[in-house]
Structures are given as structure tokens and as C-alpha cells.
């Protein structure tokens, strides 16, 4: 603990306060990492039906030609909960990883997890 004593010799009361506050700020940023700026784009027939993010838990019902596709956003993740398409491929994909997308055919609904704008590669 000699190192701590040596450091605190150069700290004035306000410095210690700044140290603590900035640490809390950075800790908060670490805790919230990835929950912001993570977008979800739901498309129907190639057109954007809904562009949202993963912050709010919700169920989204997307009407397609065969019926409603249910998209679930929960705890910062997104999946297709149910779909009227016969093969159920998009439902079986489960929770989507960042950058993944699920396409429900022939109900013509797709869900993309990731940025809806530019990224460093296609920019």
C-alpha cells in the first residue's frame, strides 16, 4: 500500500473527488456499453417497416401476406418469436447476434440487428 500512500501525497481534496467522479462516469459507460447505438431494422417486402433500437423490451407484430410475424425485443436482444411461414427458418435462428439478420419467407419480413446507417467498411 506504499504506492497508494505515495499517490495520495500528490492529491488535493478536489483531485480525489475528480478521480472518484470520473471513475464512476467511466464505470457507467462500461455498464451501458452496447445497449445504445445498437439498432434493429424490421422490413416488410423490402421496405422499412420499423427502425428502432434494443433498449425497450417489446413485441412487434408485422403483418405479411401470410399473416403476422411476431418480433420480440428483450434484454438488449432481438428474435423472431413466431412466423406463419412453413419452414420456420427465421424462428429457429433464435436471438440474433450483432450484424445478423433473419429473413422470414414467404411472409416477406426481415429483421436486421446492427447499424442502419454507415459503418467503417461500407463507408
Amino acid at each position: 500500500m506504499r504506492a497508494v500512500a505515495a499517490v495520495s501525497a500528490y492529491l488535493r481534496p478536489g483531485d480525489a473527488l475528480i478521480l472518484a467522479l470520473t471513475l464512476v462516469l467511466i464505470g457507467t459507460l462500461w455498464a451501458n456499453r452496447g445497449t445504445r447505438g445498437d439498432g434493429v431494422v424490421v422490413r416488410r417486402g423490402g421496405e422499412v417497416f420499423l427502425a428502432t433500437d434494443l433498449r425497450l423490451n417489446r413485441l412487434i407484430s408485422v403483418p405479411g401476406p401470410l399473416g403476422n410475424t411476431l418480433v420480440e425485443i428483450h434484454a438488449g436482444q432481438v428474435r423472431i418469436l413466431s412466423d406463419p411461414s412453413p419452414r420456420q427458418l427465421c424462428v429457429r435462428q433464435g436471438w440474433l447476434a450483432p450484424g445478423d439478420n433473419a429473413i422470414c419467407l414467404p411472409n416477406r419480413v426481415s429483421v436486421e440487428r446492427g447499424h442502419s446507417g454507415h459503418d467503417s467498411i461500407n463507408y
Binding site: 500528490y10 475528480i18 478521480l19 470520473t22 459507460l29 447505438g37 467503417s120
Partner: protein, 181 residues
């Protein structure tokens, strides 16, 4: 043709700023030689000079030293007017703005360590903001901000401690960083 003479009057303050700026440029160029895997991560040792000048000669002199250091080290490293230069400039201006406010706080309560940390965080935030808005628009800032701010926090703390140690040293030896006029 009449011979013309251009004479520059060099004040003592000019000399001081020149000496401190050259020390800052030396540190900036030296640390550019350290191989680091991630761009944007470096010790920022030149900021020790900035803080020393700020405490010793005031904010105006510190702003001169920062400006000269950014331009001169960019010229030496071949990054002048490149994105690296723009990031360095944005960071320098942001930390100077923060320091202008913080240096007015009572000295009894706030010392170089606190100023160094806040300035380092402002420096890093401005650089990342520039990356986000101009260089690579759309990159998720929330994803990279915590990591880079953690690094800035550590380098700010270390540089602040070094500054505090040097200021303590300068109290006993008044010759430190005093240019031979």
C-alpha cells in the same frame, strides 16, 4: 535596391514559450517511436509540459505551447493536415478549453492530478467525437468510448502525478525549466 533589415524583438516570454514548446515537441516525437497496437492510444507525455507551463506561466503561454507542439510535431512526423493532425488539434483545443476553466478553481483544493485527468478525458472525447462525426461516421461511439476513456484516465493520472512531482521538485530548485537567457 535598399537593403532592408527585418528585426524580430524576442521577449523573455517568447524564449520561455520556445523552450517549453521544444521540450513538448521532443516528448511528442519520442513517444511516437513507441510501437502501440491501437491507434489513438499513447502516453501523451507532452501534456506534462502543458500543465507545468499552465501553473508556472498561465493559460496563454500553455495555449501557445500546445499550438506550437501540435503543428511542429505534426511537421516532424509527417502528419501535418492529415486526419491524425485534425484529431491532435481537436484534442488539444478541447483540453485547453477545459483547463481554462479548471485552473480558476481554488489551488488549495484542485491540483495538477485532477486537472490532468479531466483534460485527458476531454482530449480523448474530442478525438472520438471527431472520428464519429467526420472520419468514420456511424461507428458506434458508445461501444468504444469506455475503453478509450479508461486509457485516458490512466494516462491522465500518471501524467498528473509526474507533473505534481516535478512541481514539488521545482519548489526546491528554482532553476528547473528556466531558460538560460
Amino acid at each position: 535596391m535598399t537593403p532592408s533589415t527585418i528585426s524580430l524583438t524576442v521577449t523573455a516570454e517568447d524564449r520561455r514559450i520556445a523552450v517549453m514548446a521544444s521540450a513538448a515537441v521532443g516528448l511528442a516525437v519520442a513517444e511516437a517511436a513507441i510501437p502501440l497496437p491501437i491507434p489513438g492510444i499513447k502516453p501523451g507525455l507532452a501534456n506534462i509540459v502543458t500543465l507545468l507551463v499552465l501553473y508556472r506561466y498561465g493559460w496563454r503561454a500553455a495555449a501557445w505551447v500546445v499550438g506550437l507542439r501540435i503543428v511542429a510535431s505534426a511537421l516532424l512526423l509527417g502528419t501535418f493536415l492529415t486526419p491524425t493532425f485534425a484529431m491532435s488539434l481537436a484534442g488539444g483545443l478541447a483540453s485547453l478549453a477545459v483547463l481554462a476553466m479548471l485552473v480558476r478553481l481554488p489551488r488549495r483544493w484542485f491540483g495538477p492530478v485532477g486537472l490532468s485527468i479531466v483534460a485527458a478525458l476531454a482530449h480523448m472525447t474530442a478525438q472520438l467525437l471527431l472520428v464519429d462525426l467526420w472520419l468514420m461516421p456511424g461507428v458506434s461511439l458508445a461501444g468504444i468510448l469506455p475503453f478509450f476513456l479508461t486509457v485516458a484516465w490512466v494516462t491522465g493520472l500518471v501524467n498528473g502525478l509526474v507533473t505534481a512531482r516535478l512541481m514539488e521538485y521545482a519548489e526546491t530548485r528554482t532553476t528547473l525549466a528556466e531558460p538560460a537567457a
